[in-house]
Point group: C2
Chain length 352, copies 2
């Protein structure tokens, strides 16, 4: 277990009345495709598990292998393969359709079941007295993509979730090459959905997102696969997460300039394609509340339109009666660190 010094700055403060009630510390890396760090706040060298933030990288073999073309997958199916979806009807339908095109059944999904993230889907299932199945797992699209890849490549579709399966070793290679890091088996964990998650530094993850967003530094076929997956996510942002969720709202407002993907335990990444930058952050305690608020601040500084697109849902702390009782605010440390990166207004940028 790591005994490294531990002193990341507070990124987000939860304020109630006049008191800071809770604090989310963490680290933020912003890098370009060559790995130059534009911002390194906190420890961006310590390995973190990217979890679902790298689902687009995990989906690259689906396109690169030819499976997507061979099975005639549509953009909706590619989007859900990159998704941490809410388990709404449209998500389940896209996952089932992807599986069916690969000639597979839901029984092959190794992700395990959990109740849908979506309140609407949850209510509908409970009203019908139904229990969640693997297809409702937020990762089921990723798993369906892995399965389709295995089938296309003639690999055994069973045990596709194991680290030594061909699909997982392809994915590990892609993450390693895209992020410019060697992956160490000692740094591998098992994700909530049972596939490997490979720890890597936030700085490398930010570089990986810069490459994912721009294609720079990638082989042409990989750059084309990445671009196709991102186009699919931009065409179906609601399939990548779901209604009222950060990633869907952000991409609806800001795509194709922005690709964004959150992961469990406070990881959140973004590709700012016009700026050629990747962002990777992790909140130390793993709270989505902190990660989303911190990323909203980063995006608001780098992309002027983001503040309006994301501010509504993020600052106010509302209680059970709907009264405002405080706010969830970016810390002064985070705001000061971002100041040098403040975007020039869009009009000037265009005039350059």
């Amino acid at each position: 277990m790591s005994r490294a010094a531990y002193n990341n700055p507070v990124l987000v403060e939860v304020v109630r009345g006049a008191i800071v009630e809770s604090r989310h510390s963490g680290a933020v890396a912003i890098a370009d495709a060559e790995g130059r760090l534009v911002l390194a706040l906190g420890d961006v060298e310590r390995p973190v598990f990217p979890r679902s933030a790298v689902k687009a990288l995990q989906a690259i073999p689906l396109v690169e292998s030819g499976a997507a073309d061979s099975f005639g997958l549509g953009e909706d199916e590619l989007a859900v393969a990159c998704a941490s979806h809410s388990g709404d009807a449209e998500h389940v339908e896209a996952v089932r359709s992807l599986l069916a095109k690969a000639g597979l059944d839901e029984i092959y999904l190794a992700c395990g079941a959990h109740w849908p993230v979506s309140d609407k889907a949850l209510r509908a299932m409970m009203q019908a007295g139904r229990r969640p199945q693997a297809v409702h797992n937020n990762c089921s699209g990723k798993h369906a993509g892995m399965l389709a890849t295995a089938v296309h490549l003639g690999l055994d579709p069973r045990f596709y979730e194991r680290p030594d399966h061909g699909v997982q070793t392809m994915i590990a290679g892609i993450i390693s090459e895209t992020c410019g890091v060697r992956l160490d088996r000692a740094g591998m964990g098992v994700d909530g959905c049972s596939v490997p998650t490979w720890s890597l530094p936030l700085g490398a993850l930010a570089q990986g997102f810069a490459r994912l967003g721009t294609g720079q530094g990638l082989e042409p076929a990989r750059a084309a696969a990445a671009a196709r997956l991102l186009r699919a996510c931009f065409a179906f942002p609601a399939l990548v997460a779901g209604e009222e969720r950060f990633d869907t709202i952000a991409m609806r407002a800001l795509a194709p300039a922005l690709f964004v993907k959150g992961g469990a335990e406070g990881v959140h990444c973004a590709a700012l394609r016009e700026l050629g930058l990747g962002v990777a952050l992790k909140v130390d305690d793993g709270a989505k509340r902190g990660a989303e608020r911190a990323l909203a601040e980063v995006l608001a500084v780098l992309v002027p339109e983001a503040r309006t697109a994301l501010a509504d849902q993020l600052d106010e702390l509302v209680n059970c009666r709907g009264s405002s009782v405080g706010r969830v605010a970016a810390s002064e440390v985070l705001r000061r660190a971002l100041e040098p990166l403040t975007a020039t207004p869009r009009r000037q940028a265009k005039a350059r």
Copy 2:
């Protein structure tokens, strides 16, 4: 907003594979009824909102005023007045019964509505196509108790949640006297259920729990009221929280030696009655996961039976397929800080 230095130690580590994935920092105070600190780990002077951890103190006027006797309240109704309940049928029934004895209707509850904490209750409501009401709010018992107190004292039962209402000023006085601190209006926040929450240092909160648990340092009538409320909670531990919840499990196993109550945003308090100690801790980021794990460690060190009673559900990190993928562990800093407090085995303690 506080700009104080911020350097609480890590109390709990979430480990996945061989990597510490997430960390919960915070502070822990253990004090006796005179306010002597047996342990002060992290900043125990900084004011924190105790939130629902002080519900037993907020319920004291219900007994002390004579309202509980006047309305013939049973121990079940007193327990739910101290509760952050799960919204199961038994909780709702106890709250309705308390209100009915005070001659009031649910319409008076100012706590606002939220879906029940209990999966079972949630499923039942969703299956029936029902929406949550104020009575399902985890705080509805506390609110019913405040309402009954107001009615008994001839105070207007409307606006009982406001800081200047007689019931709230009584509660503020009780918290101030029990914890030995002056409460400052500038340090007041509005809780999730719309009543005031008064910030105070963890050290004072720990002292307050030592007094609550032992009666030491309290006026006889208040000590009697506190003891009666705790007896009610020990008689009905499932009404204070609910099935599969920390406080219910802990009190079922360890009452009457232990009274324990959690609050929102990572606050958790306990009274170790035989040891004459109070415990108050807060996890900086507000995560229940961290607070419960840290408190389990404190209890396990101070009360040997606690490790067995609480260990099962706390250490393992299990994924969607039920596989163990890591653990939620007390940090070395916390374990070392607690070492000097290690309990003598029960047999020796009894032999003294």
